[in-house]
């Protein structure tokens, strides 16, 4: 209703208009330093309006549903000086049917979330009472509506459930943070499994190991794979391709990674962390193969960049955000991958990743959580080690991909295997 009002008002002066309304209710519980610390209820409203007039685009946002006149007048003010548009608003199209809403999450209230959190806290404390444990659970119920002057009207409801557990262990001047968390759009999340994974990272770090600087084989855990995916994501961004800053800009159809590497973006996985049926530009979501058997197959385009580049929009929204990334599994069991390494690193978390020159592929980051592998076994945590390399070189130097995969949620979300890279440079203190 409010969207129709906004569009109707905007259309008195604009040639086309599109508006989005998002309303969300959130509920969180948070454990810190071995105790239940806080809980939160939150209510959010978000309205976005795009108007097109004389071939130019203006945008405004508000959080105030009573500010219809304000949001319209600010968009109309902006459009006078707006950026030239290279697209038309999409008309109504069939949108895919995907599961983003789990009614089982609705009755989940704070007392039950507190109980689930306490269970995870107890698991961590019973593994090692010296760990200062923490945990967090949050559920969100989101409603999203989109309408435009070309006749598209979509709406969707999403539920989201986030569960995380971890802690901090201080021994002398040795400070260790470890944890594991997962976001999904459904109620069914195994909290015991999440605590068990967090504990596993502590277990592997019970001992510290010293490392000699040098070149060595590296296994990236599913979370650790971000070091390679971060650069790749920037390189696949159609805007960076169009503006000429992507190193992949002229490599469509070329081998950019080892033939064992296949990556696709799949927004249609039921209950996936970033699953949805339509994007914020009014386009239906669909699966986009990005790298197939090492060959670069697609870039990610929003409507405007696609219009300028003569490409097709891929349904990743105006900011070209990747959704659920999926790396195909390999044929090596993880245990076998480990066994094959005489001396190397298992890399899980970083400090300072992305601060170098990620678009060029370069990374140089401290290992916040990395482990030394010796004669096929993890022998302890390494500290004060900088791992450096180039993501594009590393992708071509993939030695093995595991059969096992895990969901990772965070900076880049998806279903990732363990990936072994031939050689990378590690500098130790």
């Amino acid at each position: 209703m409010i969207l129709e009002q906004i569009i109707e008002k905007a259309m008195r002066q604009a040639q086309s208009a599109q508006a989005i309304l998002r309303t969300a209710e959130k509920s969180d519980v948070n454990f810190e330093n071995d105790r239940l610390k806080s809980a939160e209820s939150s209510q959010r409203t978000q309205i976005q309006l795009n108007v097109i007039k004389d071939g130019k685009l203006g945008t405004s946002h508000t959080t105030d549903p009573n500010d219809v006149d304000g949001v319209v007048s600010r968009a109309l003010e902006a459009v006078e000086f707006g950026s030239p548009v290279h697209f038309e608003l999409p008309a109504a199209q069939p949108i895919p049917r995907v599961k983003t809403y789990d009614p089982a999450l609705l009755p989940l209230a704070k007392p039950e979330m507190i109980q689930l959190g306490q269970g995870m806290m107890e698991m961590i404390k019973s593994y090692n009472p010296e760990i200062l444990a923490g945990a967090g659970l949050g559920k969100t119920i989101l409603k999203e509506e989109l309408a435009n002057s070309a006749g598209a009207v979509y709406s969707a409801e999403h539920t989201n459930f986030h569960v995380g557990a971890g802690g901090q262990l201080v021994r002398g001047t040795d400070i260790l943070f470890a944890g594991y968390g997962l976001s999904q759009k459904k109620r069914q999340v195994d909290t015991e499994d999440i605590a068990a994974r967090a504990i596993e990272y502590f277990r592997l770090a019970e001992r510290t190991a010293s490392l000699q600087s040098g070149e060595m084989p590296v296994i990236f855990t599913p979370s650790g794979l971000i070091a390679l995916l971060l650069s790749l994501g920037l390189g696949l961004d159609g805007k960076n391709v169009f503006l000429g800053s992507s190193p992949l800009r002229d490599k469509l159809g070329e081998l950019i990674a080892d033939p064992s590497f296949t990556l696709l973006d799949d927004p249609l996985i039921d209950f996936g962390p970033n699953t949805s049926a339509f994007d914020d530009e009014g386009l239906p979501r669909r699966v986009t193969p990005l790298v197939e058997n090492g060959v670069l197959s697609n870039f990610i385009y929003d409507l405007d960049t696609a219009g300028r580049a003569g490409a097709k929009p891929t349904g990743h929204g105006s900011f070209r955000q990747l959704t659920n990334l999926v790396v195909s599994p390999g044929d090596t069991p993880y245990a076998e991958m480990l066994r094959g390494i005489k001396q190397g690193l298992l890399v899980h978390e970083y400090l300072g990743l992305g601060q170098g020159n990620p678009i060029n592929g370069e990374f140089s980051a401290n290992l916040a959580l990395g482990y030394k592998i010796e004669n096929g076994e993890i022998v302890g945590r390494v500290k004060d080690v900088m791992l450096a390399g180039n993501a594009y070189h590393a992708l071509k130097d993939i030695a093995a991909i595991s059969q096992e995969r895990e969901w990772v949620s965070g900076w880049m979300s998806g279903l990732f295997p363990y990936v072994q890279v031939g050689k990378l440079s590690a500098v130790a203190k």
Partner: protein, 456 residues
């Protein structure tokens, strides 16, 4: 608004409650390459109620301001669900204060056309600088935020917080090599702070081009001279976060590690956090719990002498609140944060610092930094090798790492001039709260045995 807040707080039935409301009108104008990429306007209105009961917090955050009493009740109910222990909350004198903005040149009165023309001018300077400039991201942003705060002890503060900045990111390319360089400027004092950015925009472009030919630094252990801007980031990452008491107040082991009186650095080392510093990026009259900000020595003559507190951490540790409870916006409760953190200048000149370095790295400015308390990294924007006491060739990909318990003891020279990072879109991140504006300052410092990542 004062009446509404006071009225709403009356329904609380817990030990302590407060409300913060914000209304923020902001705009962004961004060019990418030769074209305008976006021109956006945001109005973000909302608030947070906090309720404290038996050591447990209940929060309610919201965009809809219609029924504040309902939000207060909601927060109180939540706090009662959580609180099972004892409340620690240091006392603070109630204050009533209204702090208007002081803008020399009010950006709200500047037409959008003029702001766009300004950003366009800086963008032209970047793109036109050199044939190897591939693309750009150059923009202007302003924000005028009004905050209203009241607590159940009678404090009421109304404060206007303006901010304006410009930024220029230049991307140069030669074959497969792509290099970026970034400059920013601006400040809370008004539109005049963004009007003289021409030289900086060109500097960003020139540096991106020269980095194309610069080799990556060779990884290893070096004597490093950090320039003042990097020293600011280093001080914040390497030590500042460790002085935030929420990492310490419920952690006995950390309390042992961070015992006041312990030696952390050389005798000439002084580190300060000052939320009351005039003109600082992290300056506030009061923090987000209504506590006046002040100058806090963290390290004095190499000895740990203080730490940063919220009312809760101060209460638990039996120390004074320091005015460091801050939140990035109303979606989040305040947590212990730095304000303007700096390493106090010493006596050494730059020449004295480098003259006896046989092989070292001069690390300049910072892209960012991150810490896990003990270990930290910070990334210089670029660097130069130092060879036989002279500044030598330009190098790129300079990422430094260290361990806080060693690195401050490895500082052996402290420069004589303090400089601050300019205003820009960046800031500090902690938990899920980013970017929070902080002041980062320092002089040139020399650090022995510093690890730099890279191929060997």
């Amino acid at each position: 608004m004062q009446d509404r807040l006071v009225q709403a707080l009356k329904v609380h039935d817990v030990e302590y409650a407060d409300i913060r409301i914000e209304d923020d009108l902001s705009s962004w104008i961004v060019f990418q390459g030769p074209d305008l990429d976006r021109i956006n306007s945001f109005r973000i209105v909302g608030g947070i109620v906090r309720a404290l009961y038996k050591g447990g917090w209940g929060y309610a955050t919201f965009n809809d301001l219609d029924d504040l009493e309902k939000r207060v009740k909601e927060a109180c109910e939540t706090a009662r669900l959580v609180g099972k222990q004892q409340t620690y909350y240091a006392p603070a004198e109630p204050v009533v204060d209204i702090i208007p903005a002081h803008l020399q040149k009010d950006f709200r009165l500047i037409p959008l056309a003029e702001k766009k023309a300004l950003a366009e001018e800086y963008n032209r300077l970047v793109l036109g600088h050199h044939a190897r400039i591939q693309t750009s991201s150059v923009g202007y942003s302003d924000s005028f935020k009004t905050c209203w705060y009241a607590n159940s002890e009678g404090t009421y503060i109304q404060e206007e917080k303006p901010n304006v900045f410009v930024f220029a990111n230049a991307t140069a390319r030669e074959g497969d090599i792509v290099q970026n360089s970034f400059e920013t400027d601006g400040g809370p004092e008004g539109y005049q702070t963004v009007e003289n950015f021409h030289a900086k925009a060109e500097k960003a472009a020139a540096r991106a081009v020269s980095l194309l030919a610069a080799p990556s630094v060779t990884g290893g252990k070096y004597t490093v001279v950090a320039d003042p801007l990097l020293t600011g980031v280093f001080t914040h990452e390497a030590f500042g976060h460790l002085s935030e008491s929420d990492f310490v107040y419920e952690n006995e082991r950390m309390q042992e590690l961070m015992q006041l009186g312990k030696r952390f650095g050389v005798e000439r080392l002084n580190i300060i956090d000052d939320g009351a510093l005039p003109g600082g990026l992290g300056t506030h009259h009061y923090d987000y719990e209504g506590v006046p900000t002040r100058k806090n020595y963290l390290i004095k003559e190499g000895i740990l002498v203080g730490r940063l507190h919220s009312r809760e951490t101060a209460g638990k540790m039996g120390e004074q609140p320091t005015g460091n409870a801050r939140a990035v916006n109303f979606h989040h409760p305040p947590i212990v944060r730095m304000t303007n953190t700096y390493l106090e200048p010493g006596k050494d000149t730059f020449e004295e610092m480098i003259k006896d370095i046989k092989l070292g790295v001069l690390a300049v400015n910072a892209i960012g930094g991150q810490t896990a308390m003990e270990m930290f990294t910070f990334s210089a924007s670029y660097g130069y090798m130092i060879r036989d006491g002279q500044v030598a060739e330009l190098v790129r990909d300079v990422v430094l790492t260290g361990n806080v318990f060693e690195i401050l003891l490895n500082i052996d020279r402290i420069g004589d001039k303090l400089e601050w990072q300019p205003n820009g879109p960046g800031g500090c991140g902690k938990g899920d709260q980013a970017p929070l504006r902080v002041g980062l300052g320092g002089p040139y410092v020399r650090i022995q045995n510093c690890v730099i990542g890279g191929q060997q």
